[in-house]
Amino acid sequence: MIAVEGLTKLYGDITAVSDLTFTVEPGKVMGLVGPNGAGKTTALRCMSGIIPTTHGRIEIEGSDLRDDPLAAKKLLSFFPDEPRLFDYLTVRQHLEFTARLYQVRDAVARSRELLDALEMSDKADALPAELSRGMKQKVALACGFLHQPRAMFFDEPLTGLDPLAIRRTKDLIAQKARDGAAIIISSHLLHLLEEVCSHVLILKRGKKIAHGTLDEIRAEHREGGRESTLEEIFIRLVGEDAGK
């Protein structure tokens, strides 16, 4: 479970994220949406312990990220928007390195399974320079899944992928949720989020402007007796910021 209470992040006088409170139960997927600069990436980075929060409390499966960061971080994975890999480590070596960081005992077998599932087995000895962007994304996914995290944070995971890779990634995320992980996905691809997410949180200028299950959000923002799509609700709520 991911529990966030009063998450606030300030950069000097600028408030990037303001007083964010929510929980994501195991097996649930929450979509984090908002216009560019709304604070989505900052919020995800705070929740995954990459950057410290200014105020607020974040718990991963009951472990407080501030008081016991190592225990909390063992249970989470962060997937950045751009897969950033080490220039001179092969795909297999990336997994070996990650296994060492998280002390994954059955890493060899699990790496093999993941590479098979992501159809990367034939690229196990390739360096990042030999991989396409989609393949690099798959390496990042494999590394993130290796230690079987209970909380996952995806920052624009579908950008730059081909339709097949998008389908596979969505299936993988859904599978991880079925296995009991709590997942937060930030994306601009709203119609795809509608397929994967059980909950949605809409951010505008760092503040929560809507939060709930997809059905709750749709019911709350019905227009003319007709149920709106997430895209229509988003445009209505963020208004003038949407195109920026």
Partner: protein, 587 residues
């Protein structure tokens, strides 16, 4: 903590082995093999002399007359670096991680303290390499086994400095978090230094009599010896003592002395280590920002740009409004001038040159130049001529870099409905125009200042004529020198962009040497007909008039015509290369 450090060891060793293998595999391509051979030869002949026993001109001498001089000098440099690390920093505390390290390490179960230790451990390879390099360039490898003592000495110094800088940045970050502004902190540090100086002055009477300064200044003594005496006696001796302890291993001449000096230095280093790893300061935000900037810088360098474009870049005002119709290459010139800063930056440069030119003109009107005015004229004039000399090489290189960026966008360029020669002309004309304008300004100011030298007063006409001839030649000369590297970039794109995937290395150094030599040879060959026809015009016109001024101008004009013809042919050639460039060829 052992798991993350083990992981780091794995990362470093695997990256090193894979990197080396990758480079070795690349040597199967002849261009890299040739580059590697030439690069190795270059390094051997450049540094081999040092390994064989020669000293670089700036190698330390350390004569017996002043046994403390180098040690005290090194300690003072150390103090200065440390003081600056408390005064200068204006940004938040950041640790140098790469983007990949941040992506993998920051969300991993690794404590902040371990991250700091990992970074310090990782920096050891670079510090050792730097220590060996410093020993090498100070000509100490001729000392045999003693040289390794120097490497050890440098390593202690560099490590302590590195940790002090990091510790200072952490301490400053904490001060910032408690609300102390950077300006206030700088004032505080400067005031502390001044207070110390005042204290020393106040206690002066109780201290030993300082050496006689007037004797040193009047030439009866040596100023350096005086400084050494001051720093080696009295309170400054105590102040410098800890710093001298850190640099002492670097001045040991045998293993026993080295070991004796090493212990206290390592003690100070260990204290720094404890200070840095115990500082629990938030460095994550600033480290992410620094990594992003570094990645942007490397990407920009790979594209041949001098610097990365940041968010701080503001929209620029073009020099003129570009009409939608007209000669297409002018659009490239317009874009190039905009890229160079637009109206505001170019206006500043114009103002700068106008001030210099006014100064040079005013100096020329002064009847009796005083010593400071002569020095000023010498500095400005010297600067202009140096800039002129450097520009002969730089403009060609800069134009080639501009064109390389064009190659990166070749997909787009190929869709434009204009012939290749117009693209080539447009891409080159911008930097050539700007470069030529700067050269004219430098030449004009340089000639004005040259004319104030009394021996040249009677030759002002000739000086002006030669200057005019050179000025005529410059634009076409720049265009001609730019064509060859551009053609090279189109003919062998892989040779001209080695840094994109490889970084520095023997093979890249060798390839740069090959390209530099080829460019120099081509310029020499291109200048042969120019010099020939220029000389013919000089002598032929000599039969019509004896006036040297006119002969110089006619010779310059003829040479310019020949150069312009060569440049025209070059642009046509570049155009055909553009038209036939295969975008799928190896980058």
């Amino acid at each position: 903590m052992s798991a993350p450090v083990n992981a780091l060891g794995y990362l470093v060793t695997r990256s090193l082995v894979n990197g080396l293998l990758s480079r070795l595999r690349r040597l199967r391509q002849p261009k890299y093999l040739l580059g590697a051979i030439l690069g190795a030869a270059y390094f051997y002949f450049y540094f081999g002399r040092l390994l064989g026993g020669s000293r670089m001109p700036w190698g330390t001498g350390g004569g017996p007359a002043a046994p403390h001089r180098p040690e005290i000098g090194a300690a003072i440099l150390f103090v200065a670096t440390i003081v600056l690390s408390w005064i200068l920093p204006a940004s938040r505390a950041a640790i140098g991680f790469t983007e990949a390290e941040i992506a993998f390490l920051f969300p991993a179960p690794i404590s902040r303290r371990t991250l700091v230790i990992m970074r310090l451990v990782k920096s050891q390879a670079a510090l050792l390499l730097f220590s060996a390099f410093m020993t090498l360039i100070s000509g100490r490898f001729h000392l045999g086994s003693e040289a390794w003592l120097r490497v050890g000495g440098w390593w202690v110094i560099m490590n302590t400095l590195n940790m002090h800088r990091l510790g200072a940045s952490f301490a400053l970050q904490r001060l910032r978090e408690r609300g102390m502004a950077d300006g206030k902190r700088r004032v505080f540090v400067v005031l502390a230094i001044v207070a110390f100086a005042v204290l020393v002055e106040f206690m002066r009477r109780r201290l030993p009599t300082p050496p006689d300064l007037t004797a040193a200044l009047s030439g009866r003594g040596n100023v350096m010896d005086y400084l050494v005496q001051v720093l080696h006696t009295g309170p400054l001796r105590q102040v410098l003592a800890p710093f001298k302890l850190i640099v002492a291993p670097n001045f040991a001449h045998d293993a026993a002395t080295f070991l004796r000096a090493l212990l206290p230095a390592l003690g100070i280093m260990a204290l720094h280590f404890i200070w840095v790893v115990r500082a629990d300061v938030s460095f994550e935000d600033a480290s992410i920002e620094a990594a992003k900037k570094r990645a942007a810088f490397l990407a920009a360098r790979g594209r041949g740009e001098l610097r990365a474009r940041g968010k701080s870049d503001k929209a620029r005002t073009p020099l003129w409004r570009l009409r939608p119709t007209g000669f297409a290459p002018l659009a490239f010139v317009w874009k190039s001038l905009l890229k160079s800063g637009g109206r505001r930056t170019l206006g500043r440069w114009a103002a700068f040159f106008a001030v210099l030119a006014s100064g040079a003109f005013a100096l020329g009107r002064v009847d009796r130049l005083t010593h400071p005015l002569i020095v000023t004229a010498f500095v400005i004039g010297g600067g202009c001529y140096i800039a002129l000399l450097v520009s002969f090489v730089m403009i060609g290189q800069h134009s080639a870099a501009q064109l390389r960026q064009g190659i990166a966008a070749m997909d787009l360029l190929k869709t434009y409905p204009i012939p290749g020669w117009q693209i080539a002309l447009g891409e080159l004309a911008g930097p050539v125009l700007l470069g030529s304008l700067m050269q004219w300004c430098s030449l004009c100011i340089g000639l004005m200042l040259l004319s104030i030298a009394p021996p040249l007063h009677s030759h002002l006409g000739i000086i002006a004529a030669i200057g005019g001839g050179i000025a005529l030649l410059l634009p076409t000369f720049n265009l001609s020198t730019a064509i060859l590297p551009c053609a090279g970039a189109l003919l062998f794109p892989g040779w001209f962009r080695p840094q994109e995937n490889a970084g520095p290395g023997l093979e890249n150094t060798g390839m740069k040497l090959i390209l530099g030599t080829a460019q120099l040879l081509a310029v020499v060959v291109a200048m042969i007909p120019v010099a020939f026809f220029g000389a013919v015009a000089w002598f032929a016109f000599g039969k019509i008039t004896a006036l040297t001024e006119w002969r110089a101008l006619v010779a310059g004009g003829t040479a310019m015509l020949i150069l312009a013809m060569e440049a025209g042919l070059g642009i046509a050639w570049l155009g055909s290369l553009y038209d036939n460039f295969d975008v799928s060829s190896e980058p």
